[in-house]
């Protein structure tokens, strides 16, 4: 076993354990915190995969903004503990079936594609990837200009939507 593999396995265990922790926690605050840890673990995976920009964006956007908002709303509403989970209308069985199918699929995927997929080249100096950062910038403004611009409209719409929902019209 190489060091990389050991590192991967440790992080993978952390990622799965925190995901399960999120799923099983009774307290929504704990769920959110587990999810933050999970995102952090995934950010480390991004580093290992040679994507430092994505890794840092992951921390900034998910851990730094999205999950803080979640925590904020949970605390604001006092929604830490809601009534224990009740399984509705066979959704539990649906979930179980889905889980079995997806896991079977992935195992099959793993076994069948094991030969075909490549081994990741070790991202030697992931600390020195200014070039890739420039490449990402260029890609965003040349190849992916349209999605980039549409995303800005999307953010505008989300902002308008959130304000429309939470702010009542005067006298309305």
């Amino acid at each position: 076993m190489s060091i990389d593999l050991i590192l991967f396995l440790i992080l993978a265990v952390v990622a799965v354990a925190t995901a399960l922790g999120m799923l099983l926690s009774k307290n929504a605050v704990y769920s959110a915190l587990f999810l933050v840890l999970n995102f952090a673990a995934i950010a480390v995976f991004y580093l290992l995969l040679g994507a430092p920009f994505i890794a840092i964006s992951q921390v900034t956007v998910y851990a730094g903004a999205i999950m803080v908002l979640f925590l904020f709303v949970i605390m604001l509403l006092g929604a830490e503990t809601l009534a224990p989970s009740k399984v509705l209308r066979g959704q539990g069985w649906a979930a179980f079936g889905l889980a079995v199918v997806l896991v079977a699929e992935t195992v099959y995927l793993l076994v069948s594609r094991h030969a075909a997929v490549g081994v990741i080249a070790r991202p030697d100096a992931f600390l020195n990837t200014m070039d890739s950062l420039r490449e990402i910038g260029k890609a965003l403004f040349i190849q992916y200009l349209l999605p980039f611009e549409v995303t800005s409209i999307l953010l505008l719409v989300a902002m308008v939507g959130a304000i429309v929902l939470t702010r009542r019209e005067k006298g309305g």
């Binding site: 999605p147 308008v160 005067k170």
Partner: protein
Amino acid sequence: MSQYINPSDLTTILPAIVLTVWACALLVADLFIPHERKGWTAVLAALGLVVSLDITLIQAGGTSTGFKGMVTLDGFSTFLNALLLVSGLFGVALAYGYVRRMGLERGEYYTLLLFSVVGMMLMVQASDLIVVFIALELLSIPLYVLAALNVRQIESEEAGLKYFLLGSFSTGFLVYGIALIFGATGSTSYSGIVTAASAGTSSLLLTIGAALLLVGFGFKVAAVPFHMWTPDVYQGAPTSVTAFMSSGAKIAGFAALLRVFALAFPTLTADLTPILAALAALTMIGGNLIAVSQTNIKRLLAYSSIAHAGYILMAFVPYGNPQVMPVSVAAGLFYLVAYAVTNFGAWGVVIALEKQGGKGLEISDYAGLFWKNRPLALAMTVFMLSLIGFPPTIGMVGKFYLFRAVIDGGFVWLAIVGVVTSLISAYYYLRVVVNMFMQEGEPQTGSEFWVNFTWGLTALMTIIISFVPQPLFAWASSAVLRLF
């Protein structure tokens, strides 16, 4: 030629760009429109839609790709963009009086609606999965907000939340599907996918990816078994929103699905055709059977819209057969028009009868409508017949084309399922008609010009197009041919 942006990029999606700019300007202009005169916002929004529709029609016949192959302008997109813009106009017309009557009047209603239409148009024109994904979000997020707009009614807020949660759940499937497709082919553009797929590499990943994509879209177009959210959301949302989203979101979803499957996955026919056939059959059976027991007109129409998703899905089933496919896609497009027209008409009638606080929505509230308001009752009858597929209505013509295409493709059993479920559906649609004619009752009807206009116009269209369907079908066929 600049490496960043060219005039041809802009003209490819010109109608969408114009509408976006218009919506942004409207957002600002709305601030200066006093609260009592929000009708002006509606008028301005409608004007924007008309301008965009104009440009779309002027561009008809042109083909181009833009933004490094991210979007395509072709007959297919022109046809559907025109349909979407007309749907937007109907959406504004139905909302105009309704939102004021229900006390929901806010300028942002129309702005959000315009942004949603922009998302739909981009989705129709997308030729890269990344654009499909973002356009899907752009069309969905305004709809989540609009569905929850009625803060006085808890049903509306819950509808918004349910729609949102299920919608983002389906987005998860969509994104994972795109990830797997990207893994299998190294590309997210349709041309890249099909190039890699015909080189014959790793079709399993691609198949799973396509299936997950189908799940994601299945939620959006409300196909059984991904339909659970539909009745609640359609019932809870303000009716004008429901009318718009039941047509617009469905058209855009099916359009993107058609383009993706026809252009990107022609190599996966063997794997996907049975799934699609099963999905279509399940959706028709499920939607129609549950609709039988409904007593609320909004829920009834919700299940009816699920069932119609099944009929439209039939158009996808023979997509791998190059001979039948153009006809079946044309039939699908025609049916989308038929569905949109009929659907807006039916919801228009619902709006005409709806009262404050969710009253006037039971089927029993329609009792005796014929004796009270004959034109309205006759229009509703036309729409119900069209939804059944009974002559002389556009629904009948649409079903005829669809069944013919499916039989040509060799799926006779599916056509039989379609006919049988249509017969089942006759039971509950006719119950509404019987109620209007045979029962005693004192229904209260509102009379707003634009609502009357909508149901009147759609009723006329439903009948007239059924007598002369050829031009429309020819247009749909030409649209499809240019897809390739």
